[in-house]
Amino acid sequence: MKKIEAIIQPFKLEEVKEALKNIGIDGMTISEVRGHGRQKGHKEVYRGQEYNVDLLPKVRFDLVVANERLEEVVDAITTAARTGKIGDGKIFVYEVAEAIRIRNGDRGDSAV
């Protein structure tokens, strides 16, 4: 099993969700996060006081899939989340040691 952690632009949330649904991925966890990579932040001014905001709002997807579905899912996310501009985000893939469904104790691929 692989864990996919995708950090994307917040406005791409719905498109990525839709793309995952279309290839039959049902389970995912989504969080609102802040961060930046090579994308520069922006300047905000409140009553003349300048603030450089370098941590920008992003959305993080966490999902775990069977090994053989990895490429398909990564493709779906990449295609849906891409604008071609700096700030589109990143995808990280991890090995997962075990998955357990709390309701009935299922383990492994059948639990995800």
């Binding site: 001014v45 409140y46 009553r47 003349g48 603030y51 905001v53």
Partner: protein, 449 residues
Amino acid sequence: MQIPNALLLQAATDLPARLTALEAAAKSAQSAGDNAWMLTSAALVLMMTGPGLALFYGGLVRRKNVLSTMMHSFVMMALITVIWSIVGYSLVFSEGTPFIGGLKYLFLSGVGKEPNVDYAGTIPQGTFMIYQLMFAVITPALISGAYAERIKFSAMAMFTTLWIFVVYFPMAHMVWGKGGLLNAYLGGSIPTFDFAGGTVVHITSGVSALVCALYLGRRKGYPAEPIKPHSMVLSVVGACLLWVGWFGFNAGSALAASGLATSAFVATHLAAAAAALGWMGAEWLHSGKPSMLGGISGCVAGLVAITPASGFVMPMPALLIGLLAGLFCFWMVTTVKNMFQYDDTLDAFGVHGAGGTLGALLTGVFATNAINDSQINGKVLPLGLVDGHPGQILNQAIGVAIAMTLAVVGTFIILKVCDLVIGVRVNADDEEQGLDLSQHGEEGYIPEA
């Protein structure tokens, strides 16, 4: 045709009775109209404090201090009301010395349906009393912009209670009370014009705010760490409620549903509009973008500056006063505040102190008896510079100086007393945690609820 003599005779004897009835009816109709407007105005001015100012200030602080900041406004609506009903109204509006009123209206005795002809002959004195109360409520709430995010709630309550006696009641009596030192219409020896509270409300609160900001010191992390408004949306809603409520504040100060109320209404609106454009324009040139915060700050600055002038000036001077206030206050809260690095957290001094001073002085320039023909010692006199009375600017300046001195000295002494008795500033941990939790044990936003 011949009218029978008997009929003529009857008409002649009826006439005085009919005239009396007609006069009474006209008086009652005017009283009804004036009272309806004044009760509405009183409600509008209360709305400026809550929710207007509570939202405006609440949005500008960090989310951990939103409730405590709203409390600083809300609590005035309760606290000042009680003080006012017991003794405050009497100390401002009953006759006494030129500096403070007497105790004639203690516990509101004799303040009911009958008018007080010294102030407003067509409305019940009860209406006048409740209307004037709303000014006493908002004034200390304005100061809270300077001590937000770091004052103890207990110290705030004590400070406010003392401040309203030491600064507000004397100043309001001097300007508006019968026999007050600065009252142009009721026997003051230094006649100044302050239609709706430029000195009484905005200079006292704004200058006291600066003293509070200096005395309490900067918030932890200011100005090195970014401390941004947590919700501009709340602030916009609050500022727009202030704009609307200000019609009660200024047009209501005519104390009647009169032509003077209309001209104050118009002047108020024009000044707010011009000031919003002035501030936004200045920041557009200065930092490249006009902002929502600039727009609402500007409109409040314009409303502050037109407050003393609203019942005295023509529409075009009102526009000019607003525009100048927008530019001047923008300069105060950006350049001047940054130069000295005082933490006037929500710019109570930069907007109310500065805007109020500008407005009070410009009232001396633009006041004209073409707008306000109230008699002074039985005559309609020239009012400001435009009427050929440049000396009025000096009178206005004296009024400003008295308000400032009273605010500086009074506020400093009261802060010292509060500091000795309970300590004014929260400790560093409580400040870090936020006043909502440390002072009130609650939070404004609870994501898991």
